[in-house]
């Protein structure tokens, strides 16, 4: 039987506030353990939470970017469970009345625009970090707890189960990450845990409207892991169903090493979080004016930028996508495009050798890059030489023009001088000239190469071609 895959995602995004969600401790990553803690985030008796305004603003910004309804009334709840990394043994979250609901995210699958519904987006606090004595929770004798991370603001974004393939899930998540980055609400570093994803996946007979039993996959800390885990799980579930088995509703964890999802040990009853309204915090009421201001100052979204690059700059989907994915490159592009540089040349330069060098060594001043483009356009150097100049620009403080001058890389522009070289080459290889004239046309490349070698590559290839053509046909 053929099955349809049904996937829904839950994404946690750590917000880029300076201080924590409910207290004023710093959020910076990488501090020594338990040095960014206070009575509130340690859950000391008597300490009380206070909501960070910036976290609320970021949540609203993210919600607006995801086309959500912003709820002017939302409420905090307590989700009760015991775990060593959870200082109060409850998490402050928003269960019944989330801050944002009912939005969507659009993204391309190949060239088709797709839309995934965002069911809800809510604010909650992060837990602390556990370090396991043996490196893995499974066989560690003890664990160590660092509460620096406890209380960092998170938004949880929940999608409708309307994703139909593992690849789509990845593309969705990539677009979501980009959106959060563009909105400036998160650094979205998956390796540091600031973007995390859990996935729910079920299968149903192709075309059926009845959903199958879903399985939750946790520990998906890269795009690749998300896609691979979903592929594995879809195949596993399909195999189970084919053999007449039943899918167990459970949580599974992705094991990167073995490339499999593993059932998480489930003991005792289903979790009962005993969620109830957080009495320490009054409900959140947002002024419509405040929300309006955030809406008005919302940064450009990645998809909007993609369309702008295509429409206003005439770039291809491929070029635009590159620039949208790498906002820093896009910034260089937009700045130089503003100065009237040729858009396609510019995009190609940025995507080519420049990309490699800039990623290793950081961006060049756009003006220095502009200088390179200019001498290329003037024909002062060849495109091949352009690469060498680019390498030099990353090493030397000199401008492109100065580098060319210093290195003596100017193209030989005097046709008379170049003609002399061409004639010299042909004279020295008169036998081959005869053979060429006799129809052995593949020798053309040899002549070009010899000329270029003689001038150390500094000739305009087109001019060389023209001169060679003239010399070889003239005397026939």
């Amino acid at each position: 039987m053929k099955y349809d895959i049904v996937i829904g995602l839950e994404i946690h995004v750590a917000l880029l506030t300076e201080s924590k969600f409910l207290c004023s401790c710093a959020t910076a990553f990488g501090a020594p353990p338990n040095t960014q803690c206070c009575p509130v985030c340690l859950g000391l008796p008597g300490a009380l939470p206070l909501v960070n305004e910036q976290a609320v603003e970021y949540a609203v910004r993210a919600g607006l970017a995801l086309n959500c309804e912003i709820n002017h009334f939302s409420r905090f709840d307590r989700k009760n469970y015991f775990y060593p990394d959870l200082p109060k043994a409850y998490q402050i979250t928003q269960d019944v009345f989330p801050i944002c609901t009912n939005g969507y995210l659009e993204y391309y699958i190949d060239d088709v625009l797709r839309r995934t519904t965002i069911t809800r987006l809510h604010l909650e606090e992060e837990a602390g970090k556990l370090v396991h004595s043996s490196g893995s929770i499974v066989d560690s004798e003890y664990s160590l707890v660092d509460y620096n991370r406890a209380g960092i603001p998170l938004i949880e974004i929940v999608t409708a189960p309307d994703i139909t393939s593992p690849r789509q899930a990845r593309l969705f998540l990539e677009q979501l990450r980009l959106l959060m980055l563009y909105m400036g609400v998160s650094d979205t570093k998956m390796e540091e845990g600031s973007l995390r994803c859990d996935a729910n996946i079920s299968l149903k007979p192709a075309g059926s409207t009845v959903l199958g039993t879903k399985v939750e996959i946790k520990n998906l800390n890269s795009f690749r892991a998300l896609e691979r885990a979903l592929e594995y799980e879809a195949a596993r579930q399909s195999r189970v169903l084919e053999q007449g088995g039943e899918i167990k509703q459970e949580s599974r964890t992705w094991d990167e090493r073995s490339g499999r999802t593993l059932s998480m040990r489930s003991k005792g009853d289903a979790p009962d979080y005993r969620i109830f309204p957080e009495p320490d915090l009054p409900p959140l009421r947002l002024e419509p004016d405040w929300v309006f201001r955030i809406r008005e100052t919302l940064p450009e979204r990645p998809l909007e930028r993609l369309h702008r690059l295509e429409e206003s700059y005439g770039l291809s989907r491929y070029e635009s996508t590159f620039l949208v994915n790498y906002a820093d490159f896009c910034q260089v592009f937009l700045e130089l495009a503003e100065e009237g540089e040729d858009n396609t040349d510019l995009a190609n330069l940025l995507m080519g050798d420049y990309a490699r060098l800039a990623r290793e060594q950081g961006h060049l001043e756009p003006q220095r890059l502009a200088g390179l483009l200019q001498i290329l356009q003037e024909g002062l150097i060849t495109h091949n030489q352009g690469k060498a100049v680019l390498e030099e620009l990353f090493k030397s403080p000199l401008s492109a023009r100065e580098i060319v001058k210093e290195k003596g890389w100017e193209v030989l522009k005097d046709p008379a001088q170049l003609k002399g070289v061409v004639q010299q080459v042909l004279t020295a290889n008169s036998e081959l000239v005869e053979r060429y004239r006799g129809g052995e046309e593949k020798l053309w490349g040899f002549f070009v190469g010899q000329v270029m070698r003689t001038v150390q590559g500094k000739a305009d290839p087109q001019m060389v071609n023209e001169l060679l053509k003239g010399e070889l046909t003239q005397k026939s």
Binding site: L48, N80, A89, Y90
Partner: protein, 476 residues
């Protein structure tokens, strides 16, 4: 206290002398009373010496600089052990001051020690303390009431001039009534809860106990007002000590709820309260029979909400960051053993109840239902305050009962029958002595005022105190 302040001001007495007097009195009476868990002799004397130096330099922090107080042992004091009368916290020393402690320190009040209570303020007799029962100064075979039994007994026995307590369902007013002192439960949000160890955050308030109405008002003036660290105190006004004007009683509309004078009310208590009411009428007050029909449900509502919130608030006591830990091979067993050994019966009972009413299958029937009944109770009270200025009732159905007399927990909970309504509806209420019964045990009168109506409550209490003081209200 004004006299004491004058004596201090005119250097006829020093703070050190007052504190020494308290310490002597404590030494003399403690073996019987057991009002304190911790007496901080050294700290109190050091603070007194500092107060004396300020007086000598002519720079007292306030008129009350140097007048000592006692603090209930569920209110955090930096560097001074704060046990909540629990075995779990018997060695816990906070690293921060509660806001109310910070405020009394800022006014120069030395802290003599930390007073006994029912463990985590769960009780009405101070029998449920891991540090022994506090005895009633009027009869050591009887309870002091609770949970602020230590704070009430210490004031009644003149161990200290005044004290701080907490009140979630009657925990200041009921022991004040039993011990014959004045006790105020402020309006919800009027006093910061920061640093007071939570029992039920939607009901808890810190309040004052003293032998005289004016003293309770003065101490209240030092702690009242918004605190940026307690979100629900936003917008709370401060409280200037009133200029006493007993003519406020003239034309005052005094609500007398019939439900508070029905079966279960001890006859002598009823008589004393009615006599005080008659006195008010004689002074020109208009007694208005009113009805608070939902008060019948106050205890059940209170019990449901308080156990639910407490089960969550006490979850943080897991043995990871502080408190007494019982080692075990895995974290969950360590949690369960530490909590099982660290908590007393009543605490465990309430955690069990609270867990039950919040659990998924009972939430709606119990917890949510109680929240809705709470709304009805609030509406009843709000309706009453449209017709009357204050509501006057007995504080408790009986005078102090014998130690060990109430074995059935539900019977114990009925002690809060007349007091819980003020917590559920968030209004303020004060208990003051209005006579004694045939055994010489104090009888308390409760004056309930509207939200933030403390000024009027104090004025009325002052008038009642004057009339009782003139001998018209007391049998002895």
């Amino acid at each position: 206290m004004r006299r004491l302040a004058e004596l201090l001001q005119s250097k006829q007495i020093s703070s050190t002398e007052i504190v020494r007097g308290c310490l002597e009195r404590i030494e003399e009476t403690e073996p019987v009373l057991n009002a304190f868990i911790t007496v901080d002799e050294e700290g109190a004397l050091a603070q007194a010496a500092a107060a004396d130096r300020r007086r000598a330099a002519g720079e007292p922090l306030s008129p009350w600089d140097g007048i000592p107080l006692a603090v209930k042992d569920n209110i955090s004091t930096s560097g001074l052990r704060t046990t909540c009368a629990s075995r779990f916290l018997r060695n816990y020393t906070p690293i921060f001051d509660a806001t109310v402690v910070e405020r009394v320190k800022r006014a120069g009040l030395p802290i003599v020690g930390k007073t006994n209570l029912d463990e985590f303020a769960m009780g009405s007799s101070t029998e449920y303390s891991a540090f022994g029962v506090t005895k009633n100064p009027h009869d050591p075979l009887r309870v002091a009431g609770g949970s602020s039994g230590g704070s009430a007994a210490a004031v009644a026995a003149e161990q200290v001039p005044w004290s701080l307590g907490t009140d979630t369902g009657g925990s200041i007013r009921q022991p004040a009534s039993f011990c014959g002192v004045v006790g105020l439960k402020p309006s919800y949000g009027r006093v910061s809860r920061y640093g007071a160890v939570a029992l039920a955050p939607s009901l808890d308030q810190v309040g004052t106990l003293a032998r005289k109405v004016e003293d309770a008002a003065i101490l209240f003036s030092l702690i009242a007002g918004a605190d940026p660290r307690d979100a629900v105190s936003a917008g709370a006004p401060g409280f200037p000590v009133p200029v006493w004007d007993d003519t406020v009683v003239r034309g005052l509309r005094v609500g007398v709820p019939e439900e508070f004078f029905s079966s279960g009310l001890n006859e002598e208590v009823e008589k004393a309260v009615k006599r005080a009411l008659q006195n008010l009428a004689d002074q020109g007050a208009v007694l208005q029979p009113i009805s608070l029909p939902t008060n019948e449900y106050a205890i059940d509502t209170y019990l449901t909400l308080v156990t639910a919130e407490a089960s969550s608030c006490l979850a943080r006591f897991d043995g990871v960051r502080y408190g007494e830990r019982v080692e075990a091979a895995d974290a969950n067993t360590m949690f369960a053993k530490s909590r099982g050994a660290g908590f007393g019966h009543e605490v465990k009972r309430r955690i069990m109840l609270g867990t039950y009413v919040l659990s998924a299958s009972h939430y709606e029937a119990y917890y949510e239902q109680a929240q809705k009944v709470r709304t009805l109770i609030k509406q009843d009270v709000a309706r009453a305050f449209q017709e009357v200025d204050v509501i006057v009732t007995p504080t408790t159905p009986t005078t102090a009962f014998k130690i060990g007399e109430k074995r059935n927990p539900l019977e114990m909970y009925l002690s809060d029958l007349y007091t819980a309504t003020a917590n559920l509806s968030g209004v303020c209420a004060l208990s003051l002595p209005c006579g004694v019964d045939s055994q010489g045990l104090p009888i308390g009168l409760q004056i309930i005022g509207d939200h933030f109506g403390e000024e009027l409550v104090f004025q009325v209490a002052h008038a009642v105190e004057e009339s009782v003081g003139r001998g018209t209200g007391s049998e002895v």
